[in-house]
């Protein structure tokens, strides 16, 4: 806790840095906002055209997507630079610095890499979420907002773990581009309700690479759906647990990587 204000200082530094280049900030934010808005609209229009996908209406699918995108953006604030740039830190040897500070190297890496690039994304995806709530007549009351935050924290943790798992192998193999594309491929799977896939894919996305917990299971609580593919409806509430477990595994994995860090000569 005593370090909290120190870590927040790194966020302040980044925000301060951002104000040094306001043009770049606005250009990036607006570009991302528009890009993501386009994605959201395409999803909506596609499902709208088919009326529904396996019993999921256009707004329901849009809600799946926007919960996924919101939690991805939230994870991105701390994880994108930290782990997306990890390969470069390792190639250049700049990772040395994380290990010579009186701080937890994991938290230092995350907070030092705080990225202001996700404000635009978040704006689009939260807007889409609100639109879905209104269009689907989900009451915006204290319980629902609380539950939504609860879920989004959980799914942000899952997204954070994904950032870690695809990038931490660079401690051993230096470059992990292939894993990154795998990650984006996985992300494609959960754009739509996973009930549309074969059984083995459903099982895989639930138990092996449990990314269905990012959106598919928890969103059913709001939609009062019962599309649990024969699994227990309790899965709807497991997102934060899965998130914490995956995040913890990623954290352990990170320190295994640190043990194997080779640095570079200067």
């Amino acid at each position: 806790m005593e370090y909290l204000s120190l870590y927040l200082d790194f966020v302040k530094i980044k925000l301060k840095g951002m104000t040094e280049y306001p043009g770049a900030f606005w250009a990036e934010s607006i570009a991302k906002m528009m890009g993501w808005a386009a994605n959201l609209i395409i999803i909506y229009l596609m499902v709208f055209r088919f009326e529904n996908v396996f019993g999921w209406s256009a707004y329901e699918v849009l809600m799946l997507y926007s919960i996924n995108a919101t939690s991805y953006s939230l994870a991105g604030f701390l994880m994108f630079d930290a782990f997306g740039m990890l390969s470069r830190h390792i190639q250049m040897g700049t990772f040395d610095e994380m290990l010579t500070k009186p701080m937890n190297p994991f938290l230092y890496l995350c907070f030092k890499g705080f990225s202001t690039g996700y404000i635009g994304n978040l704006f689009s995806t939260v807007t889409a979420l609100i639109v879905c709530f209104v269009a689907l007549n989900i009451p915006i009351n204290f319980t629902n907002i609380f539950y939504l935050i609860f879920i989004i924290i959980g799914s942000s943790l899952i997204h954070s773990a994904m950032f870690m798992f695809v990038n931490i192998p660079v401690f051993w193999i230096v470059k992990a581009d292939a894993l990154l594309s795998l990650r984006w491929a996985l992300d494609e799977f959960i754009r739509y309700p996973i009930s549309i896939y074969d059984r083995w894919i459903q099982v895989m996305l639930t138990f092996v690479l449990p990314i269905a917990f990012i959106n598919f299971y928890p969103v059913q609580h709001f939609l009062k759906k019962d599309d649990f593919l024969g699994f227990s409806p309790l899965l709807a509430h497991l997102t934060p647990v899965i998130g914490i477990v995956l995040f913890a595994l990623g954290y352990i994995f990170f320190f295994l990587g640190v043990r194997n860090y080779k640095s570079t000569g200067s």
Partner: protein, 337 residues
């Protein structure tokens, strides 16, 4: 009492073999052969509080690897490191609280932040109390002459200013030990001089132990009392810098070109005790001698008596030359015994 202790320190890296040819490349995807490169091999030393130690060696000798094991960045393959009685890899935070690090080619400053803000950040990070903070800032501002650029973002500073800034943040928390990895790289003569004087001063005033790696022999001469020389992962020399100088840099070399077609001279004709002749490229010859024994003028005269010299120059011994000679000398010694 020893503040830093390294015992039989080893660090191995796996180097994967690269094979040429298509078939070999395909094979290497499945099974890669590798060899173990011993970057640091059985290095032991002990450094006392307040010592100024120069840690030198050619590129790839294992200098940085050793420093990185001392700072806790790398885990040793075998052997032990103890810094202030602790293992740096296991007590990372505690260790970091008491060391300062300046790696010449890596910055720990924040690009968009002026120094004044970086100081506040480091104050918090290292839990520096207000009195020490104020005292140190005033001291560094004054001695490193930082007033003119304290409010400018780091990215606008010159390399020399940046290096001064690096030192001031590395020392803000009054560390016991300062690790410097090529701190003067790329600096101009004046900036180098300033940094050297600064290092000596803080060592004297605060009893900070300094370990310095560099390729600039002048750094070593100006700053250090003790020298540890390493090559191919092994320590070749560990001792006082004065002794190092007397035993290895007293040689001087004259390079000359002579008319070869008149008589068939060879070096057997020139047999003066204490002067050695070597053949160089393109008909050049070198005569090396001890400055204690002869002056350059004497040797030149002797050479001119025998050879029809066209051109000559007296070579100041470069650091690399001295070092090269040393490695050979020590290497041979090692093999004989």
């Amino acid at each position: 009492m020893a503040i830093i202790e390294a015992k039989n320190l080893c660090k191995n890296f796996k180097i994967y073999k690269r094979n040429s040819g298509f078939l070999e490349t395909v094979k290497s995807l499945i099974h890669r052969e590798f060899e173990i490169k011993k970057a640091v091999e059985n290095v032991s030393f002990s450094i006392d509080k307040g010592e100024l130690v120069g840690y030198i060696g050619p590129n790839g000798a294992g200098k940085s690897t050793t420093i990185k094991m001392l700072t806790g960045i790398l885990y040793p393959t075998s052997g032990e490191v103890s810094v202030r009685g602790l293992i740096p890899q296991k007590n990372r935070k505690e260790n970091a609280m008491h060391i300062g690090v300046v790696f010449g080619q890596r910055s720990q400053l924040y690009w968009d932040l002026p120094m004044i803000d970086a100081f506040d950040l480091y104050k918090k990070m290292y839990k520096v109390d207000d009195i020490t903070f104020k005292k140190n800032i005033d001291f560094y501002m004054d001695i490193l002459d930082m007033k003119e650029f304290i409010n400018r973002p780091i990215r606008q500073l010159s390399l020399g200013q940046k290096m001064r800034a690096e030192f001031s943040v590395a020392l803000l928390h009054n560390p016991d030990i300062l690790y410097l990895d090529e701190p003067t790289i790329g600096l101009d003569v004046l900036a180098k001089k300033r940094i050297r004087e600064f290092i000596k001063q803080i060592n004297k005033e605060r009893q900070i132990t300094v370990i310095l790696t560099t390729h600039d022999m002048d750094d070593i001469e100006h700053i250090c009392d003790r020298l540890i020389l390493i090559d191919k992962g092994r320590i070749l020399y560990d001792g006082k810098i004065n002794e190092f100088k007397t035993s290895f840099s007293e040689e001087s070399v004259i390079e000359f070109i002579y008319e070869q077609n008149d008589k068939n001279h060879d070096k057997s004709i020139f047999e003066v005790e204490g002067i050695k002749l070597f053949d160089g490229e393109k008909g050049k010859k070198y005569a090396s001698f001890s400055k204690k024994q002869y002056t350059s003028a004497q040797v030149t005269r002797m050479l001119m008596d025998i050879y029809e010299i066209i051109d000559f120059s007296i070579k100041d011994q470069k650091i690399e030359d001295i070092l090269n000679k040393m490695y050979t000398a020590l290497g041979n010694e090692g093999r004989d015994s």
